[in-house]
């Protein structure tokens, strides 16, 4: 949809017929989105298509044969086939994509759940009932993101090696949780800061303890924020490659690691890679759609005043 703030052109064709209407009356009716200029809508669609084009091209290529996919310029109108997907699901190589997909799902979902469970009380203690020196705590959390992950790779590897957690899903769950926790606390803190304090006081007077208040009042009211945070954490974990590639191998490899396996020394099988990339992108897309209706709910609407 086009933006609401863009200016209307002086004589849009849509309101040529309503020109004799009194000015004040027109003012009241025009700000609706439907009355925006079609040009603005067109521009928005163009921009959207421009950014979506690489993704659409990936999806299209995944349905082409390897020979059609390799041509230059690309053969857009080539015949469609499911060969890329067949070989991704192991028809030719015999390697099943399911273990890495399940590994990815486990690591992403479990770490996201842990992050939310830990970040909600942390954010509560940093916004609604701020602890002493809460700004220092926030800065500390932020500072953990200042070191590039690659700089910590060797210590992390040695840690995993010595604890015997190399090539297990647990090491990824722990790392993804700690990697996303600072971001989640920061995000949730700003969402919780908008929860009216009186509402929590009212709940306390109604006889609710801290856990009840968090579970029955704060969590439902901050649900859009929790959904947004969870979505971000899920995406970051699902797409993470560096740690997964370094610390896992045979057993606990994740989907992105599996995807890199398609880039072989024998050459690039473009259709197959596109099919794999499409399949691996789907869960993120699904998570986005699932979170969408939660995201658009107005935060704490109608609580006060």
């Amino acid at each position: 949809m086009s933006t609401a703030t863009s200016p209307r052109p002086p004589a849009g064709p849509a309101d040529a017929g309503s020109a004799p209407a009194p000015r004040t009356l027109r003012r009241r009716h025009t700000p609706s989105l439907q009355r925006q200029s079609p040009l603005v809508g067109l521009a928005a669609w163009m921009a959207g298509l421009f950014f979506a084009a690489p993704v659409l091209w990936m999806v299209l290529t995944s349905f082409h044969s390897e020979t059609d996919a390799a041509t230059n310029p690309p053969s857009v109108a080539a015949a469609l086939t499911l060969d890329g997907y067949r070989s991704f699901f192991g028809a030719t190589s015999g390697a099943s994509p399911w273990p890495p997909l399940i590994n990815s799902a486990t690591a992403s979902l479990v770490s996201t759940a842990l992050v939310i469970l830990l970040a909600l009380p942390a954010a509560y203690a940093l916004s609604i009932k701020p602890v002493r020196k809460w700004t220092d705590v926030l800065f500390f959390l932020l500072s953990t993101k200042m070191l590039p992950i690659v700089a910590g790779l060797l210590p992390l590897y040695l840690f995993a090696l010595n604890t015997g957690s190399l090539d297990t899903i647990w090491v990824l769950i722990v790392l993804y949780t700690s990697m996303n926790l600072p971001i989640a606390v920061w995000m949730m803190r700003s969402f919780l800061a908008e929860v009216p304090a009186e509402m929590l006081e009212a709940a306390a007077l109604d006889g609710a303890g801290l856990v009840t208040i968090l579970r029955r009042i704060v969590a439902p009211v901050a649900m859009p924020g929790i959904a947004a945070t969870a979505l971000i954490c899920f995406i970051f974990s699902w797409n993470e490659l560096l740690l997964a590639q370094t610390l896992t191998g045979v057993v606990a490899g994740t989907a992105p690691v599996f995807l890199t396996g398609f880039v072989t020394s024998q050459g690039l099988f473009l259709a197959q890679v596109c099919a794999a990339a499409t399949v691996i992108s789907l869960p993120v897309l699904a998570a986005g759609f699932a979170a969408q209706d939660k995201l658009v709910q107005g935060l704490s609407l109608g609580a006060v005043k």
Binding site: E198, M199, E201, A204, D206, V221, L301, G302, A303
Partner: protein, 367 residues
């Protein structure tokens, strides 16, 4: 339902020079409607929040009934509060908002439904029980907040400026409804407001606070007729009491060009203090228009005609006002108001003057 007692309760916010509430002593009877009133920052809301358990008590004690609650958390005090912004739970229906406390208390679903329905009927909310707060008007939300309080049948109701978000007309209407509801339920109520009209019309007794200190507590009539100090005199009543600095003479004081006699007790008190001047207070309706030479002359600047009443604003002729800008207010005959610029002659009705010490601000009038 219970008595409430503040026993030298003090709240000192960290980093602030003086206590927000300073040694508050207040005994509230069972079933009483007590209003805490004062200008912003006077500590009235802090006092209420101390009673609710939302604010710590640094010194002194607070008792509800026979139980000392000074350091109990809010949930163990069995009191219900109505907030200025209502603080409804936005994700719950009206019925769930009202039944939340009962649900936490572990009451059966049938019982909750019955009690919510009863409360909704009292507040005329029956048809809105399934709605979310965002689908209600301001007045309806206010009533849901009330409903959430009354459904619990608590020891006391605490109300923190519950009407200030309503428009003027609805506020007057709701004011009467709340007062009537409280009389009907007989629940001890502490009500905070900055609006002295609300305080006077709703309270069985009114407590006036300023700078964290209790100034006076009494029935609305008491506060109006016998203010303990200059602040209460000026704060209670609308239009406000006229307060004029007067120089003392041998048998009274000089007001404009006229002497004002003072009672012997007052003169004695002033003499003990060694004062040369005093603050004279009189209400706008405490004056009568007299013939020239029998009262102090008053130059009319503005006349406000309200229909039933007329008020004339103006200056005392020949009497230097300290700030020079504050006009005095007098009530005049609504059917024959004076003209602007006219000089009229006024006399304070006997016994209706208030004399306060300039030094302490305390009332000196003997009766």
């Amino acid at each position: 339902m219970s008595t409430i007692q503040f026993d030298a309760a003090t709240r000192q916010f960290p980093g602030s020079a003086r206590p927000a509430v300073d040694g508050l002593n207040l005994d509230i009877a069972d079933g009483e409607f007590l209003v805490l009133v004062g200008p912003s920052g006077c500590g009235k809301s802090t006092s209420l929040r101390m009673l609710a358990g939302l604010e710590e008590v640094d010194e002194g004690a607070i008792r509800i009934g026979d139980r000392e609650v000074t350091h109990l958390p809010p949930k163990e005090r069995d009191i219900a509060m109505v907030f200025q912004n209502y603080a409804l739970y936005p994700h719950m229906s009206v019925a769930d908002n009202m039944g939340f406390a009962l649900k936490i208390a572990g009451m059966s679903k049938d019982e909750i439904r019955t009690r919510v329905k009863e409360a909704a009927a009292i507040l005329d909310l029956g048809e809105f029980l399934d709605r979310k707060p965002k689908a209600l008007s301001g007045g309806q939300r206010q009533r849901v907040a009330m409903g959430r309080a009354i459904v619990r049948n608590p020891q006391a109701f605490l109300m923190d400026e519950p009407l200030s978000n309503l428009d003027a007309k609805l506020r007057v209407q709701t004011r009467t409804q709340i007062a009537a509801l409280q009389r009907r339920l007989g629940t001890t109520t502490v009500y905070v407001t900055h609006d002295q009209v609300e305080a006077m019309t709703m309270g069985d007794r009114v407590a006036v606070l300023k700078d964290g200190l209790l100034q006076q507590v009494g029935t609305p009539r008491d506060l109006y007729d016998r203010p303990d100090n200059v602040f209460v005199g000026g704060f209670i009543g609308s239009p406000a009491m006229n307060l004029v600095r007067v120089v003392l003479t041998t048998d009274g004081a000089q007001l404009g060009e006229r002497p004002v006699p003072m009672k012997r007790g007052v003169r004695a008190a002033l003499a003990t203090e060694g004062a040369e001047d005093a603050t004279l207070g009189f209400r706008p309706e405490s004056v009568e228009v007299v013939a020239p030479g029998q009262g102090f002359p008053f130059e009319v600047v503005v006349v406000e005609e309200l229909g039933s009443d007329s008020f004339a604003y103006g200056n005392l002729v020949g009497h230097g006002q300290e700030d020079g800008t504050t006009l005095l207010t007098v009530r005049v005959d609504a059917r024959r108001p004076p003209a602007k610029g006219e000089v009229i002659h006024l006399r304070i009705r006997e016994g209706e003057e208030h004399v306060f010490s300039r030094r302490t601000g305390q009332r000196l009038s003997a009766d």
